[in-house]
């Protein structure tokens, strides 16, 4: 991880606690607070695109919003309306800042593309095991690197800062 730790840092004074390598799904660089779930996420019937809130009954994130967060989850499930719901969430400014996930499907691939959020998969270690809700995460999808600052070591964080995203 020498490349990451010697690169000029914009994230703040705290060095990351760990780094993951993975494959770019959608390019771009962004950082933000992690929202982590072990439940798959449904688009249509699973989220409210106006607020980015998970609405599925019995989902562990029910009632929580992913707007502006780095969403860490196993993958997509449910209806073919997945991409359209996340697309609408982007237009309503309630989309996640980034997607980190394990299982590649057409739903998540197209959904990430139309959300215009940096997205990665195929990690060298399971992000569900090493990223927790509240950690500060820097996603450099272009270089295939995710840097994680554990929530205990975080300085007072601000808003997600996005660079190099598609407009």
């Amino acid at each position: 991880m020498s490349a990451a730790s010697t690169a000029p840092r914009a994230a703040g004074p705290v060095a990351p606690d760990l780094a993951l390598r993975g494959r770019k799904v959608v390019g771009g660089v962004v950082e933000g607070e992690a929202l982590v779930t072990r439940d798959h996420i449904s688009g249509w019937g699973g989220i409210d695109p106006r607020t980015g809130t998970v609405i599925e009954v019995r989902h562990e994130l029910r009632g929580q919003s992913f707007a502006g967060k780095v969403l860490v989850f196993p993958g997509a499930k449910g209806s073919s309306g997945w991409s359209a719901m996340f697309h609408t969430a982007r237009l309503m400014k309630a989309a996640p800042a980034a997607f980190l996930f394990n299982e590649m499907t057409t739903k998540i691939a197209l959904g990430a593309v139309v959300t215009h959020a940096p997205a990665m998969t195929g990690f060298d270690r399971d992000p569900l095991d090493c990223i927790e809700t509240g950690d500060w995460v820097r996603v450099d999808a272009d270089r295939g690197i995710v840097e994680v600052t554990k929530k205990n070591n975080r300085h007072a964080g601000g808003q997600a800062r996005a660079r190099g995203e598609r407009p």
Binding site: S80, S83, A84, K107, L110
Partner: protein, 431 residues
């Protein structure tokens, strides 16, 4: 991702800005999937029209129907003029039945905007089938045909029953496919991904439409998005017909994400168990016997209980076939609905026309029920006013409706649903 010269020319703008935007989206999507290349398709099924106030306001603010298509069907922020579709395109179901707006509590403005949107889609070349079952009304792909379809219950039917090849596409990838005739060559387009991973050994006979829904609901939960093959030693006594396989696939795509299945001796890529498995060993062998059947039934009736009073009976998920309408009409003939119950039956427009001509619509209406089209209660979020409990013969609808509308669902056979419609009470039970 490799692009052919033809595809490069589309990406370079030879065919105009809309085709260029479509190819740009397919490249971004194909690279996200890590697909090697694109594949030609001549068959798209998608939602194109607009039914929400958000889209209506978007059209008003950004420049009309081309702006809506650019953003929602091509992921293009630049408004590009949309040319006629290159590919045969079928329109899927929508968020309401525009022919019966008062029943669904729709305002005039929403219906007017939809009609404008429908005219626009039709003028570009979309077939206004407005159903989740395009394979019932003129779009029946053949074995090996590469398709770009949305709608999970249609995708699983297309792959499994027809032997055609599609992934679960979305609105934007279908929009791009309509204009380019291309879709990423990934997933179920490749033979090696179509083999079964899980064997389901039947220890009970699976015969009725309800039986096939219960089996599908069990399997989806067990295998999630993997590929099951159903096998019964000595063969399946009654080969399942269209309503059975339609119900089975929709159920498996609701409790799980099944996009492809095999039934040995029935579906085209499973003449034998070995063929379905592609010569490989199964990852897992699961048994389906009386206990599993009962467990699936109880999960589908998890929200049921209490007084067993029913206010609403919904039939037609996925959209009813003419055979199912014929059966419902026979069950209803000469009877009357209970005064506190409404019955809505959903089918494609073309089949409603057939039901009108054959006299089934009259029988159902004389009993107090109605035939509707284009949508269903889960899609429209519309049920009759005062509905607290619904009777359903669809595992898919029983899975979604309590979550979407907070109503109680009773799942059973069509005959039990019609008895509930006529008595106002659920009196069914697993046979």
């Amino acid at each position: 991702m490799h692009l052919s010269d033809e595809e490069k020319a589309m990406l370079d703008g030879r065919d105009g800005p809309a085709v260029q935007k479509a190819m740009d989206l397919l490249v971004r999507y194909g690279e996200a999937l890590d697909a090697e290349r694109l594949v030609s398709t001549h068959n798209v099924c998608a939602t194109i029209t607009s039914t929400t106030p958000f889209q209506r306001d978007f059209a008003r603010a950004k420049g009309g129907m081309d702006a809506v298509f650019s953003e929602f069907s091509l992921d293009s922020q630049e408004v590009v003029p949309i040319p006629k579709f290159k590919v045969f395109t079928s329109h899927l179901q929508l968020g309401f039945d525009p022919a019966q707006p008062e029943r669904m509590g729709l305002d005039e403005q929403t219906v007017r905007f939809y009609e404008r949107s429908e005219r626009h889609a039709a003028s570009l070349g979309a077939q206004i089938m407005n159903t989740c079952t395009p394979y019932q009304v003129g779009n029946v792909p053949t074995r090996g045909e590469h398709c770009a379809w949305m709608e999970s219950s249609a995708v699983v039917y297309c792959n499994s029953v027809l032997g055609a090849r599609t992934n679960t596409e979305g609105r934007e990838s279908c929009g791009a496919a309509m204009l380019t005739g291309r879709i990423p060559y990934w997933g179920y387009h490749l033979s090696e991904n179509r083999h079964a991973t899980h064997v389901i050994e039947l220890d009970v006979e699976v015969e009725s439409v309800q039986d096939w829904g219960l089996l599908g609901y069990f399997i989806g939960e067990q295998v999630q998005e993997r590929v099951p093959v159903v096998h019964r030693a000595g063969g399946i006594a009654r080969s399942p017909n269209l309503p059975r396989l339609k119900h089975f696939g929709a159920a498996a795509a609701s409790s799980g994400g099944v996009e492809m299945y095999h039934v040995v001796g029935v579906t085209p890529e499973a003449l034998t168990l070995e063929q379905a498995l592609g010569g490989k060993r199964a990852q897992e062998v699961l048994r389906y016997g009386p206990a599993e059947r009962r467990a699936a039934y109880e999960k589908l009736n998890a929200t049921a209980g209490g007084s067993a009073e029913i206010q609403y009976v919904m039939l037609g998920c996925p959209h009813y076939t003419i055979e199912q309408i014929w059966e419902a009409a026979q069950l209803l003939e000469g009877r009357k609905l209970h005064p506190d119950v409404q019955l809505w039956l959903f089918t494609p427009r073309a089949i409603k026309d057939l039901a009108d001509r054959t006299g089934y619509t009259r029988i159902i209406e004389e009993a107090g029920g109605v035939i509707m089209s284009d949508s269903c209660s889960a899609m429209s979020r519309a049920v009759p006013p005062g509905t607290r409990a619904v009777a359903l013969d669809s595992a898919k609808q029983a899975h979604y409706l309590p979550a979407i509308l907070g109503v109680q669902a009773w799942f059973g056979s069509t005959a039990e649903c019609i008895d509930a419609a006529c008595t106002g009470r659920w009196q069914g039970g697993l046979q």
